[in-house]
């Protein structure tokens, strides 16, 4: 490869008949400057003439692009779904065990704390009080390990989500993006869901209670954790959730069908949420739910806001 010479062409040190190493050189090489590679290749005897150089280049770039695409795309949504579910399981179990541990250790340690933090303390330092109880210490280590595992999985999701769903991750943050993909059962099925469904993903209990006719319709599901919803006055959270879900639906579709980054989505969402949040201050002054939305939209807001909070 080109590690030795920082400004050598992809073909330097490559045998023209060895497609695999040629493709690797195209894929992994680099150069500070570009040169007249076709001429240099012929000069160095890599190929006999310009035309056969281009033939070799065609083969090498095609093979390089194919393998690079394959490995980039293997960062697929299934990995993400498993990781986020495992992360939740680890967190839940660690917390549950930490509670049990705190209760037990409390019987021998007068300064016993609570939660995962206390478990980590017990596991990392020698505490006089529990020194005679290796079983407690051992459980504490197990709990701390589980907590570490959950942290590692979170990091994994934060790294992986932006490659699987770049726009969705940019809009929702990697963790929420992964949760949405997980709840929908994959990026493709998320991309095929209407935004109204995305809005209530994770609120299935409330939704079915509503459909059975004895509850108001839920305004938001898991997207509640997004700042756009949580940061909005309760009266307008329905609108905010609807606006957010709309953008998330678009982002999921772009991610699944094209994969290109669309940074404008973030700005559009920010603008829309700002408008919605501005209503709160308007409402303080007078009777203002008016940002030029169509009447139907406004009516639905009132209905949601009035019945379900």
């Amino acid at each position: 490869m080109n590690d030795s010479a920082p400004d050598a062409g992809w073909f330097s040190g490559v045998d023209a008949s060895d497609l695999e190493s040629a493709a690797a050189a195209v894929r992994d090489g680099s150069s500070e400057v570009s040169r007249d590679w076709p001429a240099l290749a012929v000069e160095s005897g890599f190929t006999a003439d310009r035309e056969s150089y281009y033939d070799a280049l065609k083969e090498a770039t095609t093979a390089a692009a194919r393998s690079a695409i394959e490995s980039r795309e293997r960062a697929d949504d299934r990995q993400l779904v498993h990781a986020i579910r495992a992360m939740d399981d680890c967190e839940r179990t660690a917390n549950e065990l930490a509670e049990r541990l705190a209760e037990w250790a409390g019987t021998v340690d007068p300064d016993a704390g609570t939660g995962l933090e206390y478990a980590r303390e017990l596991a990392s330092e020698d505490r006089e009080a529990v020194a005679g109880e290796p079983a407690i210490r051992s459980l504490a280590e197990r709990v701390a390990d589980l907590g570490d595992e959950a942290d590692d999985l979170r990091e994994f999701v934060e790294r992986r989500a932006p490659t699987v769903a770049p726009n969705l991750s940019a809009l929702a943050g990697p963790i929420l993006a992964a949760r949405l993909v997980s709840l929908a059962g994959g990026l493709e099925s998320l991309a095929k869901k209407p935004s109204g469904t995305i809005q209530v993903l994770g609120a299935e209990d409330a939704l079915f209670a509503h459909l059975r006719g004895h509850a108001p319709s839920p305004k938001h599901g898991i997207i509640y954790v997004h700042d756009a919803v949580r940061g909005t006055h309760p009266d307008h959270r329905g609108s905010a959730a609807r606006a957010l879900a709309g953008k998330l639906a678009i982002a999921a579709r772009v991610d699944h069908y094209s994969g290109e980054r669309k940074p404008e989505l973030e700005a559009e969402l920010a603008e829309r949420i700002e408008t919605i949040q501005a209503r709160t201050s308007d409402a303080d002054i007078g009777n203002g739910d008016d940002d030029g939305e169509p009447a139907v939209d406004g009516d639905r807001d009132d209905e949601n806001g009035g019945t379900n909070e």
């Binding site: 680099s30 150069s31 033939d55 065609k58 980054r261």
Partner: protein, 230 residues
């Protein structure tokens, strides 16, 4: 669309005049396909575009370079050039470029569209697909030859002027930069004309701008720019 209608109405005499004054590169023609006069190149169909024998229509509303030709910008392309294409996406435009140009290097960063690009490139022996980031020319400078005749740039990222400046090293001194600036990629909230002004000012650090033209007839909030390295 108005431009398209206009040229259809005026008819063949105008077509011949255009071809003879060399605005379109050799290998790009205005042909009547499905009853309308359209730009066309010769090659394997790529995206379900209408064809007429071996000619396939080049839709200006799907291709910014197509729109630049349709709006009669002077691209300086004559056919047979060596081209570096930045932001090839799934290969809609770059397939037409490869049809009339010489060796064509197609850079695309997103793997999903690049997969389609590979298919497009399969039937075009001088179209070289590169999965790379146009903002990092050092990652493909060992493959792309120097002194290319034209850079076509259509990248939907912030800092489009910077991308053009960083890739200037590949361009021959008398080469052409054919740039489609997407205002919404720079800043959605600002007035497109302000964004264009700023991009062009930045661009002038390394390029001399010959012509600029809004592509709104085919692409909302896009500006076509023809420039030469300074």
């Amino acid at each position: 669309m108005t431009v398209n209608r206009l040229s259809t109405a005026i008819g063949t005499t105008r077509t011949e005049a255009r071809m003879s004054n060399g605005l379109l590169p050799t290998g790009v023609q205005r042909r009547t396909i499905d009853g309308t006069e359209r730009l066309a190149t010769r090659g394997e169909p790529v995206y379900g575009e209408p064809t007429d024998g071996e000619w396939r229509a080049w839709a200006p509303d799907r291709s910014k370079l197509g729109a630049m030709f349709e709006l009669e910008m002077e691209t300086g392309l004559e056919g047979g050039e060596t081209v570096l294409y930045l932001g090839a996406a799934s290969g809609t435009t770059v397939s037409h470029v490869a049809d009339f140009a010489g060796p064509t290097y197609a850079v695309e960063f997103a793997p999903r569209p690049a997969r389609d690009l590979l298919e497009t490139a399969a039937s075009r022996p001088r179209l070289f697909p590169l999965l790379a980031d146009a903002r990092k020319p050092e990652t493909y400078a060992h493959v792309v030859e120097s002194d290319v005749d034209a850079i076509v740039q259509d990248v939907a990222t912030r800092g489009q002027a910077r991308v053009a400046l960083e890739n200037r090293q590949f361009l021959a001194d008398d080469g052409r930069l054919l740039l489609a600036v997407k205002a919404r990629s720079e800043d959605v909230t600002r007035e497109p004309s302000d964004v264009f002004e700023e991009v062009c000012t930045d661009l002038e650090e390394g390029y001399e701008i010959f012509e600029r033209c809004r592509l709104d007839a085919y692409h909302d909030d896009h500006l076509g720019v023809v420039a030469r390295p300074r």
